[in-house]
């Protein structure tokens, strides 16, 4: 079993450093994928999305709104709709 992802830990005198390996999951092609992949990775890994179960449109729209309203993501309303539509396309029960 893998140990924690402190997979590269160095100690040089009093300086301690770790290296974390980034991971980007694959996502299906749908309209809005480019906007999703770029805007949604500004602040966090896209694994935040790939680990979610399916949600209804209402939930995805609320999540996108939260990113803008609460966390100040620089996403205008047109782009926000494209991203929400993409999330619905890939992670909702149609």
């Amino acid at each position: 079993m893998e140990k924690k992802q402190e997979n590269s830990f160095s100690l040089n005198g009093s300086v301690r450093e770790i290296k974390i390996t980034p991971e980007t999951p694959d996502f299906p092609d749908h309209e809005g994928k480019a906007e999703f992949m770029s805007y949604c990775s500004m602040c966090h890994s896209l694994k935040y999305i790939s680990m979610q179960p399916n949600f209804p449109r209402k939930t995805w729209e609320a999540e996108v709104n939260k990113m803008v309203a609460k966390y100040k993501a620089p996403i205008d309303s047109v782009t926000g709709k494209k991203i929400a539509d993409y999330l619905v396309a890939i992670k909702s029960n149609h």
Binding site: S14, S45, M51
Partner: protein, 350 residues
């Protein structure tokens, strides 16, 4: 470990690790909120800043903390507010944790009250804020700052830890310092802590007033179509119990004794008993509890089970605390916090 996310890192502990009293540091769960976590530090130049409404602001080095203050030690459970979120029904967005966003450790450090006493808390002090060295990529994203009331901050239990299970904290778990708030969810256990600020007013930061909210009535429960109107910050660890062994996919043989074990935990009130039901809650049998490791430690329970019939079993586990409170069978809230509804182990006996 199970990697939920890499940036910021969130890692979950496999269940079998919970078959030890203390969770090894290299398998301890990881949860950060902001992508720019601390990845490099020179401990010789590190300072813990104590400021605000104090007589004498302090800038304490790690050496100061280890030599100017009496060391304090506590065994305490760290558990994510959203531990077990993926088990909520209907599902809710957020970190899709199983039961592994928690860990029991022996923490060593300095009582916060000793540090605040050295700085001299001014009259009129109301809240104390805590911030670490993690940062968001966007300047406008709210900084991760948590607060405690001054009375809570000055109690005998809140600690600034510099060691975990006898070792310096791993950087993913908050090196060099982590706030330890025994009995409260780990959202308060600020990692890479370097700033403590005494306020003379209520702290209104995002991560205290907008995030980490639960229904005000204390039930930790609401319905999707009638969400609680009023909310308050999450605080005490809710009474809960889980199965650790066997896991649903394990092989169990009929007429052969099998050890069933698990954990029970709460906010320090104390576990009175942990019971199992093999008949959907009609009757209960008591498990054997391991000795207490401390008020804020989890409590391990064990039961020797010899199933006589083959087939599917649905076993419930229920903890009762020293105040007589026990677990419900149904609970939900919009954020997937503070799971307390009984866990059921579905397992086939061959």
């Amino acid at each position: 470990m199970y990697l939920l996310t890499d940036r910021p890192p969130q890692l979950e502990t496999p269940l079998k690790i919970f078959r030890e009293d203390l969770t090894p540091n290299e398998y301890f769960f990881v949860r950060w909120h902001l992508a720019q976590v601390l990845t490099k530090i020179d401990i010789d130049t590190f300072k813990l800043y104590i400021g605000g409404a104090v007589d004498k602001p302090l800038a304490l080095s790690m050496n100061d903390l280890k030599t100017q203050f009496a060391p304090d030690s506590i065994i305490a459970l760290a558990i994510c507010s959203g531990n077990s979120r993926s088990t909520f029904n209907p599902k809710v967005p957020g970190g899709q944790w199983g039961n592994g966003a928690m860990g029991n450790a022996k923490w060593k450090g300095v009582k916060l009250k000793d540090i605040l006493a050295k700085a001299g808390v001014k009259k009129g002090a109301f809240d104390v804020t805590f911030q670490g060295m993690d940062r968001a990529p966007l300047p406008a994203t709210p900084a991760f700052i948590k607060s405690l009331s001054i009375n809570h901050a000055m109690d005998d239990e809140v600690m600034i830890a510099y060691e975990m299970n006898g070792q310096p904290l791993p950087m993913l778990n908050g090196y060099p310092l982590k706030l330890v708030v025994p009995g409260w969810y780990a959202t308060y256990w600020v990692g890479s802590l370097n700033s403590v600020n005494v306020l003379t007013d209520t702290f209104h930061g995002f991560w205290m007033t907008k995030a980490y909210q639960v229904p005000k009535d204390g039930s930790l429960n609401e319905k999707p179509d009638s969400l609680a109107k009023a909310t308050v910050p999450i605080t005490n660890i809710n009474l809960h119990s889980i199965f650790v062994e066997p896991e649903p996919t394990d092989t169990v043989i009929a007429n052969k004794q099998r050890l069933v074990e698990g954990l029970a935990f709460d906010d320090g009130t104390g576990i009175k008993k942990v019971e199992l039901s093999f008949d959907a809650g009609k009757t209960w049998v008591e498990t054997k509890l391991n000795p207490e490791l401390g008020k804020y430690s989890w409590r391990r329970w064990k039961y020797d089970w010899t199933p006589t019939n083959k087939g599917a079993y649905h076993i419930l586990v229920k903890a009762t605390d020293n105040k007589g409170r026990t677990q419900t069978s149904k609970q939900w809230n919009r954020s997937g916090y503070a799971r307390g509804f009984m866990e059921q182990l579905d397992i086939t006996v061959n």
